[in-house]
């Protein structure tokens, strides 16, 4: 169930804001079920009881609607994620987060597909996806750096921290993709195996000579 965020109860844009949120909610549902390419603006519009021109009016293009969907989805995810933990404790929650994707197959499929498509620099969502990856890499790097600073792992250099964030992201993406292709894949197990090996390896790096 998706609710309108902070609905303005009055004011000149009230209708527009509510309508927009409602359209995004429907798009999340339909994209999640039928994918991006498999959903036409006309189908979306029929579900929302508007014309497909209305969707274009609100979001400019179909990709504009897609980006609105991705942003709303991230906003909702971020709420569950209000980082009460950091450092290694944060990273160790990743297996559970990956397992949680099983309840949202369509959306993982959507993210995966769009990321691949938008890797082309001419794709409309390219800038969005690149920025999203940078944010994600920075988050992982920050938590790993926190572990370094706390002495939980050895003295990794900034370049090593950045590379480890990349490798972790790569593993998570690849694991998600394999689960999409074969639902028998145990995402939590694969993630945990990767992570515990990485942590053990980081711990073998020498501590700084304090």
């Amino acid at each position: 169930m998706i609710e309108t965020p902070r609905p303005a109860t009055r004011g000149p844009y009230r209708t527009g804001i509510e309508r927009r949120a409602q359209l995004v909610a429907i798009a999340i549902e339909v994209f999640g079920q039928r994918g991006f390419a498999g959903s036409s603006l006309r189908t979306l519009a029929e579900r929302a009881d508007v014309s497909h021109a209305t969707l274009i009016r609100h979001f400019g293009t179909k990709e504009g609607l897609l980006i609105a969907v991705l942003q709303e989805w991230e906003r909702q995810s971020a709420e569950h994620d209000l980082a009460d933990v950091s450092g290694l404790a944060y990273l160790r929650r990743l297996p559970d987060i990956m397992a949680g994707h099983r309840r949202n197959r369509g959306l993982l499929e959507l993210f995966t597909t769009i990321t691949a498509e938008a890797s082309n620099p001419e794709h409309r969502a390219h800038a969005y996806v690149v920025q999203r990856y940078e944010t994600n890499l920075r988050t992982f790097a920050r938590h790993l750096q926190a572990a370094v600073d706390a002495g939980d792992v050895g003295a990794l250099s900034p370049a090593q921290v950045a590379l480890e964030a990349r490798l972790l992201t790569a593993a998570l993406d690849g694991i998600g993709l394999q689960w999409l292709l074969d639902p028998n894949v145990d995402m939590a197990l694969a993630t945990r195996t990767y992570l515990e090996r990485a942590i053990a390896s980081w711990r073998r790096v020498a501590r700084p000579t304090a």
Copy 2:
């Protein structure tokens, strides 16, 4: 430059076979440049100086053409890959193979995009992609098992070997994706870092009590 494989110089299907190979060669080039979704049958046909109906005649559907392209690409890749090495030596060539993708950005993009799209079970190429992954996982597992049998690494169980093949595939896919998003990513370095850590970890597993 792509050449017709074993062109029949005579016989009833000569023209058809040559034509088909030529069409696939053009499709590899155009898909590689503009992506699958970005290439229309009419554009492809114009490049080949035939009508778009001819493409349908040869490949049935646009996805049929796609699968022909993927198979031809794999066939060509396999020629460079006629496994003169096995076991750890094979796995250690992966960084170079990944680096080699830099010369074929469009095709890596194509594989990545199609794999993501076709993760949906209703996608026309789903069966092809799933089978391709199974083959790939088996290849990695076979080489790792050879390393186990040779005593180059510890006595991993069959389940562990399978999981390691999955993790390796996941890392390679994720590394490729990140390079597509950011050409500054060093694919060979990332692959080597992953691989050497994995090998070191396998070596810490106890040898069988022979």
